[in-house]
Amino acid sequence: MKKKILPLKDAIARFVVANSSVVLGAVLEPDVPFAATHEIIRQGIKGLNVIAPISDASTDMLIGAGCCNEVTGAWVGNVSGGLGHNYRRAFEDPDAAAVKLHDHSNFSIAMALMAGAYGMPYAPIRSILGSDITKSNPDMMMAENPFSDDREPVILVPPLVPDVAVVVVQRADVFGNNHHWGSRGVVQEAALAAENVIVLANEIVEPGVIASDPSRVLVPGYLVSAVCHVPAAAHPSPQTGCWKRDNAFFGDYHAESRSVEGFDKWLQEWILGVEDHAAYCQKLGSQLEDLRITGSNLAAPTNYAAG
């Protein structure tokens, strides 16, 4: 097997190229790969189509930093605060750079990523019949169910095949094999759909740890392009069994990003003026340490013995 371990900086530089489509946050509220978001901003990568059903403030940051001119998603904002100010400005403020939105519901974007993952030509759904999302998103197509007697309406959702998916896991080995537990949103579909997968692991473990529980594998290493050791990669979003959510941090971001000037100041302080994710963690200091999960609620033992 080939070792795929890379510093985050190198993985982003190598796989997230300008004008590509990138899944950043497919677990919904947890496991948002903010460390990758920040690194993309630091490297000034432009023209991204950011794909995420819900990714808390990550997409808002990328818009504000000018990295992203397309969004494919179901909800963009700040789960603590509500609206995402940069996102709003992109639509409401004639002075702001415009963002093209590929509008979705959670289920329709999930079906689009599933279709991409499974090589389906498209996914027929009923779930957003009646919604104007089919008007604001012309990628979707109205059709009739050919198996129905009564010309039942259905919506055809085209597949999403992202250039890159960045996924956050609890642990991985140097070959990119990894374990994820807790709710997973559409991150497995996103990873299977994408051309390249970058894994951000809270911990790097011996290959035997991953191999000991192959049903816990989110996406096998042979489909992974790079694995990066990035503890607290999801901060300020939570990670099951590892990190609590930093509500205050989200709140501060929401307050400070209310104005363009406030956002720029925040950006300088927390991203541009910070060397890398390690420095970001150091700057957070005890605020981060207080979020570390230290309790123990272990899964029941599970035996894979063959004889």
Binding site: G182, V186, S237
Partner: protein
Amino acid sequence: MTDYSIQELMIIASAREIKDGELVFVGMRLPITAYGVARLTHAPDAVGLFECGVARYAPATDMLYTMGDPPNQLNAAWTTGLIPVMSQLQRGRVDAGFIGGAEVDRYGNVNTSYIGDFNNPKIKLPGSGGAADIAAMSKRLLVIINHEQRRLVEKVDFVTSPGYLDGGDSRATAGLKGGPSAIITDLAILRPYGPDNEMHLASLHQGHSVEEVQEKTGWNLKVLPQMVETPPPSAEEMAALHEIDKEGFWR
């Protein structure tokens, strides 16, 4: 016997909409608390579903800021993908779902996407999340909203989450079953009525008048002949709520 806040009343009114054994998308904040109250009172076997891929037999014991927070994972009935959980809507298994919104209209359509023209919006709201799916596919939709004229409007600018669309059988024509069964506000509860499926004033919270509610509603709100006063929280309901809301967040 007015020893409850209006938010507590809304929670308890919401809890009453959940029947025992039902599968319910319970969202966050007010509805998840309502789910907790329902479980402790009349609906011990109601199951709470969350879009991120979580199902629970009881609310998390620790405070949640998002559905995906660690306490919502711990001892869940199921932590899986979005699709296995949200597809239960499209599979027809989900009895009810709670959503909020910036606007709701005469036919129970909800907007969380755009104020103004979607091509050039005055305000860009965060979008659907799972709300469109819950509205389209659950058997009963429950809308929680503050009762203001700018929120309860004649016609939403954008139907994120379909109610009865243009009323009558337009929802069925669009291929949908179900529909809104209640709009729960800080003043009243509205319910669909008649073949037109227009939302009517069905239950008035204590201390408010029909006229006040009508004035704060952006359409010509009709009153159900069988309109009632919203029953105040019972002692049992309040006890259940206080068991969940130990810190008095909703008081």
